[in-house]
């Protein structure tokens, strides 16, 4: 085989690999739906909690409220979404992120319940923004979407703010963080995913 022919063959092989790798980079890890769902449930449940504190309801009522209004519908919807999703491919990133979110959910459940029953100082609640913020950094790389790093930093900065404001208002800061750093990115990710799908279909 002549040198030119060999080189041409190498270039063809490299082109095949480049094309496949480029297509694989478009694989979607997250579509934003669960961000919007969990974020909305958290804000709604939190606002109900605020309203109920005016009536000085027992603490166990609030624990039940969080389980019934936040964790049960959120977990059920997540389970349904994960299991009904048409799975053609399983990515390494998808599994890693799934485990990370499971960890965040566990930390959130424990810290909310412990702080509601006064076993944990109210400052303990800042593990929620910190843990969510930390997940955003690897997620930004996997989704190849840099703004998520900025949202992660806002989560952590917001967590620090929660420490310096009175306990009552720190939960309002958390609600604000959920809206700005979870629901809004969820909407943006959803729009981006639809755009990528449209582009892939057009190709």
């Amino acid at each position: 085989m002549k040198v030119e022919q060999e080189l041409e063959q190498v270039q063809k092989q490299l082109a095949v690999m480049r094309d496949i790798v480029s297509q694989c980079q478009k694989l979607v890890v997250e579509d934003g739906t669960l961000y919007i769902l969990w974020g909305s449930l958290a804000v709604i449940t939190s606002l109900i909690t605020y309203a109920l504190t005016w009536f000085k309801v027992p603490v166990w009522t609030l624990v039940v409220l969080w389980i019934v209004a936040f964790y049960i519908p959120g977990s059920f919807a997540t389970y349904k979404k994960v299991h009904t999703k048409k799975k053609h491919v399983v990515t390494f990133g998808e599994r890693a992120i799934g485990r990370l979110w499971l960890g965040v959910l566990f930390v959130s459940v424990v810290s909310v319940i412990l702080s509601l029953v006064s076993l944990l100082p109210w400052q303990g609640i800042i593990v929620i923004p910190f843990s969510i913020g930390l997940v955003y950094f690897p997620l930004a790389v996997l989704l190849d979407w840099k703004p998520l790093t900025a949202f992660g930093l806002v989560w952590i900065a917001g967590g620090a703010v929660m420490l310096v404001v009175p306990a009552f208002y720190s939960y309002l800061v958390l609600d604000g963080l959920i809206v700005v750093c979870e629901i809004i990115p969820g909407i943006l990710i959803k729009k981006r995913v639809h755009k990528l799908i449209d582009m892939a279909q057009a190709e």
């Binding site: 085989m1 002549k2 040198v3 060999e6 080189l7 063959q9 190498v10 063809k12 092989q13 490299l14 095949v16 690999m17 094309d19 496949i20 790798v21 297509q23 694989c24 694989l27 048409k86 799975k87 053609h88 491919v89 399983v90 990515t91 390494f92 599994r95």
Partner: protein, 110 residues
Amino acid sequence: MSDDTGEIGFKPDAIDELLHNPLRLAIVTALSQVEQGDFNWLKELTRATDGNLATHLRKLEDSSYIKVTKTYSGRKPVTYYALTDTGSIALKNYIAMLASIVKKFETDPH
């Protein structure tokens, strides 16, 4: 650098014939990017026909480059394919071989 025959690297004994085929190379490259993928995903990605894809997948499976897992999605049977360690090493070696050819050509284009 060229040898006496004017070849720079595709020596028959050095080539991994399995990966030298573009479709098989595409399959192995695709599976190196994910944990596992099903037949339809590979078909969509490689734009191959059912029969052609199945034939090449079987060849890769016979050589232990890929492993096959049969499962169910509801009542529908689904077959997943994943790259094995053997396949992964073969792909790395193949890429190294391509890179060495390009390097040789860059240092001595004639």
